[in-house]
Symmetry: C2
Subunit: 415 residues, 2 copies
């Protein structure tokens, strides 16, 4: 007879994360050199140091005339100052030399008069306004000084970072190798999409969802396929995962029933095995966290919604750590909840909401949370609200923090 | 003599957008069929209709025993109800049949008793709690009913959408073809990164920045390279762009100087040509908007920061429209500005800020805005604040809306 009961003790999320990351020694991933134009969203493995000043020389910030500022003092449209166009590459007293945006500042000049503030008459200009020394000049090194850290290690590279790196003349960067995350689904009832399901069979979708979630974060998923509810089969696939990947994520077979074979399989392959099982959260309560052969294994529920929330809470910070990122939180916005929501005391609840913008205000409409198997609650939501363990729900109109995972609809916009 | 002056009239941003989109007839892009696992962030070209119910059958949401709810009424741990394990596939009066999460509900049963609320003793179970009809059952069609629109056309596909589509057994989807955006930089001073710059030369980085910005939105950049400040050369490259791409973005040669050849080149290739030139904004004031051969051409400043802000304001909504998306706004959060900022009256100003989270509060620190050529103001910022045309700046401590374009650092976090 199998001993059938609930989890004897549910571990709070913060405690579970602490135990998990305390037990893990996350190995630093290798770095790899990639062309700058292919480095979008990769994580920089080492500081990019400026080997040159940026700009490399004093540069005109506008189209106009390089002048000596002193020669323009007290100029106005009614009492213009007349300056001769310089012959050579140098600007002497009461001289001006035409420059376009980006041109270097000729010797002798210390400011640039904008074209629109002057008038050219043959080989002279009329300066209509005074300029101050340094005006309209981008100073050498103003953007980045030689020797400075232009972009820090551990930065996820966005278009602006790539632009700055390229502006320094750099064509390749060292980024962190994508961590490989093996993904395994378990369950006798599961079949691959594309097949014809028999009665009782369902399409396996967790591997797809988790794989694209990994990709979004900059990890590389490794597909371990579907295992039947059979310890030997699960063990075999887990061993492939340990060999090929930096971490494993499984789904299914982790509640309290007799079919909960994944924790057993994990425990059989290496120490310490499962270190947390049963989390004080909803959904995703049956989540387990394990370590084997020094590699992290996250054992998620088979319910797609619970699997996604479990990924959010445990796999997301893991992947960030592997990449050497501090931690990327979801963007948080303040909203008002539109309806009362009840949640279970003692569990941290993840309430899916659809948030939209109405003028200056954001409204969060709870999406019906019937069952963690209902994937459409995730497609109708664009964020979630965390209800802490010591609350039994949210009151209508209560201010909440929404963690945003999809675009926000603007119903009515002031600006 | 070239007539040298400023723009006679600056067009407000909203007016510029109205003129531009009014003049454009954006052709619907073709659709293309891609495997679901490659459809992340693509835009759905047509509704995905459920051809089956999801779930396809009444399904257990938990591990436990399928029962007749009536047989459990008034059960407690002290007065359990004893139920026999059913022999066949049907559940009769006072019978129970073991089911795992996802299993179909046997005939006769109308609820599932969770394992942890029961105890198995040989061929009987003790039911310790009452269940209500329907309890712990995922009803057929509860997630999506046959014939329903599961995911709407015009949706940018996130992991949850792909999961829902796959759960319906669908392996391929029709998405909108990526719009091709030709990108051209102009300027005699520009050289490609990787080369050794001579005095006065600078590395061209706008094509890189704009290309990755296009990629982020799901468009495909097409590189037109660098053109010298020469109308014929610019025209030649623009013609290639018109032939190969759905839209063109150029940088440089668009202020009021004699080197402002791009508007002239655009006007020479087709009607109506430039329809807006000079926008009441800062940075990016010299931006021009044009249409030639029914294709949109966005003429941006050569300053990288101005080019990025110009892209944000004009190219971003254009690409969204081409993709058939309503409009994707940047995520907006409320913050307090930490310092006084002054801006020009009559211009909509884009103040770059570094926003960070301190407990429940977000603080926005203005990044020094010296010169729109200073790319590092974009790498030090993670968002921007819009100061409207009728304001001359922001007061210290003023509440502002930050449009977020990079991760937000959490300095101190309450939850």
């Amino acid at each position: 007879m199998v001993r059938l009961k609930g989890f004897q003790k549910l571990t709070p999320i913060n405690e579970a994360l602490r135990i998990f990351f305390h037990g893990l020694r996350i190995e630093k991933l290798r770095k790899v050199t990639v062309p700058v134009h292919q480095a979008l969203n990769r994580v920089l493995a080492e500081d990019v140091i400026a080997e040159e000043n940026l700009p490399r020389f004093d540069r005109s910030a506008v189209d106009g005339y390089a002048v000596r500022a002193e020669d323009t003092f007290e100029a106005s449209q009614f009492t213009p100052k007349n300056l001769r166009i310089a012959n050579g590459n140098e600007v002497g007293e009461k001289e001006a030399k035409q420059v376009w945006t980006g041109n270097s500042i000729p010797k002798g000049a210390n400011a640039v008069m904008m074209l629109e503030n002057s008038k050219r008459i043959n080989d002279e200009i009329e300066a209509w306004v005074p300029v101050t020394p340094g005006e309209n000049i981008s100073k050498k090194g103003e953007d980045v000084s030689k020797g400075d850290v232009a972009v820090k290690a551990g930065t996820r590279l966005k278009p602006q970072h790539l632009g700055l790196i390229a502006a320094l003349g750099i064509t390749e960067v060292n980024v962190v190798v994508k961590p490989k995350i093996a993904v395994l689904a378990t369950g006798n009832e599961l079949i691959e999409t594309g097949n014809k399901p028999e009665e009782n069979q369902i399409f396996e979708v967790n591997r797809l969802i988790l794989s694209v979630l990994c990709q979004e974060l900059g990890a590389e998923p490794f597909d371990l396929g579907i295992a039947k509810d059979d310890v030997n089969e699960i063990v075999k696939k887990l061993k492939v995962g340990l060999e090929k990947a930096n971490a494993i994520i499984t789904t299914g077979g982790t509640s309290v029933g007799a079919s909960d074979l994944v924790p057993a399989a994990v425990n059989s392959i290496g120490k310490p095995g499962v270190i947390v099982h049963g989390i004080a959260m909803r959904p995703a309560m049956p989540t387990a966290l394990a370590i084997a052969h020094k590699k992290p294994i996250i054992i998620l529920s088979g319910n797609p919604v619970a699997a996604m929330i479990g990924f959010e809470v445990f796999a997301r910070p893991l992947i960030c750590k592997m990449l050497g990122l501090k931690r990327e939180f979801r963007l948080e916005i303040k909203a008002k909840i539109t309806r009362r929501v009840s949640t279970a005391l003692g569990r941290r609840s993840f309430v899916r909401v659809h948030v939209s913008q109405h003028g200056e205000e954001f409204l969060a409409e709870p999406v019906s949370t019937l069952g963690s198997g209902v994937i459409s609650t995730m497609t109708r939501a664009n964020g979630y609200v965390i209800v802490p363990e010591n609350r039994e729900g949210l009151e209508e109109g209560e201010p909440v923090t929404v963690h945003v995972f999809d675009n926000i609809e603007v119903v009515d916009r002031s600006v």
